[in-house]
């Protein structure tokens, strides 16, 4: 943010007095008002705002739920039913929170795949991107622990399966698991500590989000061409252009969100989670929430306990190395005809893995999971490095302006001032 000198001038005497003591208004002005935004951004660049909104929404609904919820193995299930039946609008707050988690993941997956498509992870945005991967991992941990809190059958057995992943670690695995549980099996101490951490982690996410936005404001946003802003003509000021567009996108997203909350609030959950936890019986078909399914399919594809756990972890950790695995100098896939095909195959493989994760682990489902798992890793370890050398990218436009307005030859046929620098408009 220090890269962009503020043009903020306080108007009032109090404003000047305050600004000389805490220059926060100037910081906001330079980051969210005067900040130059590429003029060719599509709606795929509104998911940052949508995600920020969802984080706040989850914290607000969560704080209210915590007022009525009891983190005790004997009472948790009943307290959730109490929220649903007795607390005024408790059903709404809980459905907003539960479906909000799914909406959060829908938005984050679109955000992540937009980043993959337009090469946003490449230099100079590697740190920005890795902070994003850290946020995603924190989100997964938070969502997992939140799902345990209602203490239904899926909560209990999901907690058992996921914590048992750590027992695959040689020698110390069993000890680590008993430290996670605070006992010899998932029980009341486990529920207590998960509640504590579920409340803590969103604030850690908020902290990393602040770093993520800070890191974004150093190089500025990527854009559909992948080429940087070269002059003021390539950019528009954040306010009003991006502000209004982000608000509009959030509103549209909220309509989508509301549809789930009001018309099918339990569609994304599992009926088994309305059965109180029973440590003597495992549900006949145990599956995680939809947003974990591709990783779950990778876990089950490997017919070895430790190997499966390593593969599942590697499926996320490998993202961190993407800026260096991708050898292509061209950021945007729009100019990479060969990679564009591989990209969509990769998207397809991820979706198929998600579907396979929801199937029972038997027969050809296992074989299909194995093929998809191999392809998933091949995309990172073979396709990305090799394609940079063998692919001939399409010619890049000279500037963002040119990509939007076409090559300029004297400006005929263009409204006066359309290609002027935004600060000189109007």
């Amino acid at each position: 943010m220090s890269q962009h000198p503020t043009t903020y001038v306080p108007k009032s005497a109090f404003g000047r007095w305050f600004e000389s003591r805490l220059p926060i208004a100037g910081l906001v002005h330079s980051s969210f008002v005067a900040f130059p935004v590429p003029r060719n951004l599509t709606y795929f660049w509104t998911f940052g705002a949508i995600l920020s909104f969802m984080l706040v929404a989850q914290i607000v609904t969560g704080v209210f739920l915590a007022m009525y919820y009891t983190p005790n193995a004997g009472m948790a299930f009943q307290s959730v039913e109490h929220i649903m039946r007795d607390v005024n609008y408790g059903w709404l707050i809980r459905y907003l929170h539960a479906n909000g988690a799914s909406m959060f993941f829908i938005a984050v997956y679109l955000h992540i795949f937009r980043n993959f498509y337009y090469g946003s992870y490449k230099a100079p945005r590697e740190v920005l991107y890795i902070l994003g991967v850290i946020i995603f991992i924190l989100m997964m941990a938070t969502a997992f622990m939140g799902y345990v809190l209602p203490w239904g059958q899926m909560s209990f057995w999901g907690a058992t399966v996921i914590t048992n992943l750590f027992s695959a670690i040689p020698l110390v695995g069993e000890t680590i698991v008993s430290y996670l549980w605070g006992g010899y099996s998932v029980g009341n101490p486990t529920l207590n500590r998960f509640f504590s951490l579920h409340y803590l982690l969103p604030f850690m996410i908020a902290g990393v989000v602040a770093l993520h936005i800070w890191a974004l404001h150093v190089p500025g946003q990527n854009n559909p061409t992948g080429i940087p802003i070269k002059s003021g003509k390539d950019a528009v000021p954040f306010t009003p252009y991006a502000t209004i567009k982000d608000i509009f996108a959030v509103v549209v997203f909220l309509i989508f969100f509301a549809y789930w909350v009001f018309y099918m609030p339990n569609y994304l959950g599992h009926a088994d989670n309305y059965i109180p936890a029973n440590p003597a019986v495992t549900p006949s078909h145990i599956v995680p929430e939809w947003y974990f399914l591709p990783f779950y399919a990778i876990l089950r594809a490997i017919p070895d306990k430790l190997g499966g756990v390593i593969a599942m972890g590697a499926a996320i950790v490998i993202w961190v190395f993407m800026p260096w695995l991708d050898t292509s100098k061209v950021r945007s896939t729009a100019y990479r005809p060969l990679y564009k095909q591989f990209f969509w195959v990769f998207v397809g493989v991820c979706l198929v893995l998600g579907w396979l994760g929801s199937r029972p682990a038997e027969g050809w489902y296992v074989i299909a999971s194995q093929i998809c798992t191999v392809y998933y890793f091949a995309h990172f370890l073979i396709v990305l490095p090799v394609l940079g050398f063998v692919e001939r990218p399409l010619p890049l436009p000279n500037s963002i302006l040119e990509s939007v307005m076409g090559v300029q030859k004297g400006g005929a046929g263009m409204p006066a001032g359309a290609n002027a620098e935004p600060q000189s408009k109007g």
């Binding site: 057995w157 058992t160 399966v161 996921i162 914590t163 048992n164 992943l165 027992s167 008993s178 430290y179 996670l180 549980w181 605070g182 006992g183 010899y184 099996s185 029980g187 101490p189 500590r193 440590p279 003597a280 019986v281 495992t282 549900p283 006949s284 078909h285 145990i286 089950r300 490997i302 017919p303 070895d304 306990k305 430790l306 499966g308 029972p360 682990a361 038997e362 296992v366």
Partner: protein
Amino acid sequence: MAETTTHVAEPTRRDFLYIATGAAAAIGGATLVWPFVQSLAPDAATVAAGAPVEVDLAPIAEGQIVKVFWRGKLIFIRHRTPDEIKAAEDVNVASLRDPQADAARVKEGKAQWLVVYGNCTHLGCVPLGQQGEYHGWFCPCHGSVFDTSGRVRGGPAPINLPIPPYAFASDTKVIIGQEATA
């Protein structure tokens, strides 16, 4: 105050103080972590709740599996039929993933009683009794198969269902959590 320290090649008394202070802070910090990590371990009440439990075997019919809890962990007590015992014994032990003879998994002369932990050794689900290829157990979560001796025969589970410590108090009574004293 105008005088500041100038750089000298030789370590000085001040360098020693920096290192000593840093080391004390690092060791102190690391020591303080210990009680916090230990607080996560099973607490005294949980450990105390692990006292042995007595189970009456008389009502368990042949072919039946009952579930009991010891230290919060699920345990299967299976009254095996002669066919199930024979199936468990007639196995080439060397061909198993976790080679163990059936005789080593039951008490001598009590081959009809199999006592094993009831959580799959893969990720802890409860396998379903009398199911799967070997009619021992089948885990619905990730497809592990166990035979009538609780040994892993297929799927991702790495080891056999472990045997908890237990002892026969009489022909119809076992004490789970207590090693045989004979």
